[in-house]
């Protein structure tokens, strides 16, 4: 899976490195959820700057991560959505329910710490 997941204190930072297949999207979802439970994380940042599209499957999986984390008291911040990807998601009507969003990693950490 072309994703690195780092633990930074109470937070997890998942960085997507390249385009993901659906199978890899599911692996990403499950890896984040397992680690949030294992490390008792209170916040997760998912950096999707490397994704050149976010389709219905990716959006639904990110929403599932955010919703599950929320039920466990952890915040999820999706950062780095490319401008064209944001326009396509909006035209499509795709939303990231229960996730916070921020422009980049730095802004995402601010969302978690405030």
């Amino acid at each position: 899976m072309p994703v690195s997941i780092l633990k930074q204190g109470a937070y997890l930072i998942a960085s997507v490195q390249s385009a993901l297949t659906d199978t890899e999207v599911i692996e990403l979802r499950d890896s984040i959820l397992e680690r949030v439970a294992k490390y008792r994380s209170t916040g997760v940042i998912v950096d999707v700057a490397a994704l050149d599209i976010i389709d219905s499957f990716a959006a639904r999986s990110l929403s599932t991560v955010a919703r599950t984390n929320r039920l466990r008291g952890a915040k999820t911040v999706v950062v780095g959505i490319q401008p064209e990807v944001a326009v396509a998601m909006s035209q499509f009507g795709l939303r990231l329910d229960d996730a916070y969003t921020a422009l980049d990693l730095e802004a995402g950490i601010q969302v978690l710490t405030t």
Binding site: D52, I53, D55, S56, E84, A88, F92, L94
Partner: protein
């Protein structure tokens, strides 16, 4: 009206890795034909949805991409073909409130929002062909984003 299709690219779609190949080929072809980055992203996203429909519902199929000229307009045509179970009620699939057994019903509907034209022909037991077109034109959003 004469419609000319040029330089067809074929991608065999069997696994979700092929979906990534098909959508990246769609993006590259769109950019090569002079589409904006925003339109290329719309096209790639729509291809991702219809390619997923092939792997989930039919198991295998094929996506072709080609440049398009019609009445002075330039565009891109995407055709997805499979010999899967087919769609019983095509208009229902394209409606806003459609959710399939897999909860994946957003795919075709999303493609209609992202492309300029879409045609779905399907016969139960014989397969489905989805044809989608996008015309090159002034990209309002792209110019606002400064990506033109």
């Amino acid at each position: 009206m004469v419609t000319e299709v040029r330089d067809e690219i074929r991608v065999r779609v069997v696994s979700d890795a092929d979906t990534v190949i098909a959508r990246q080929a769609g993006r590259d072809e769109a950019l090569r034909l002079g589409f904006s980055r925003t339109d290329a992203t719309f096209i790639a996203t729509a291809i991702s949805e219809i390619a997923r429909n092939i792997t989930v519902h039919a198991g295998e199929g094929e996506i072709t991409l080609g440049g398009l000229s019609e009445a002075g307009r330039q565009g891109l045509i995407v055709t997805a073909r499979d010999e899967g179970p087919g769609i019983r009620d095509v208009p229902a699939v394209l409606r806003d409130d459609y959710i399939s057994d897999f909860g994946l019903g957003m795919g075709l509907w999303g493609a209609t929002r992202l492309m300029d034209e879409i045609d779905v022909s399907s016969e139960p037991g014989k397969g489905t062909t989805v044809t989608m077109k996008k015309w090159r034109g002034f990209d309002e959003v792209g110019s606002l984003l400064g990506t033109e």
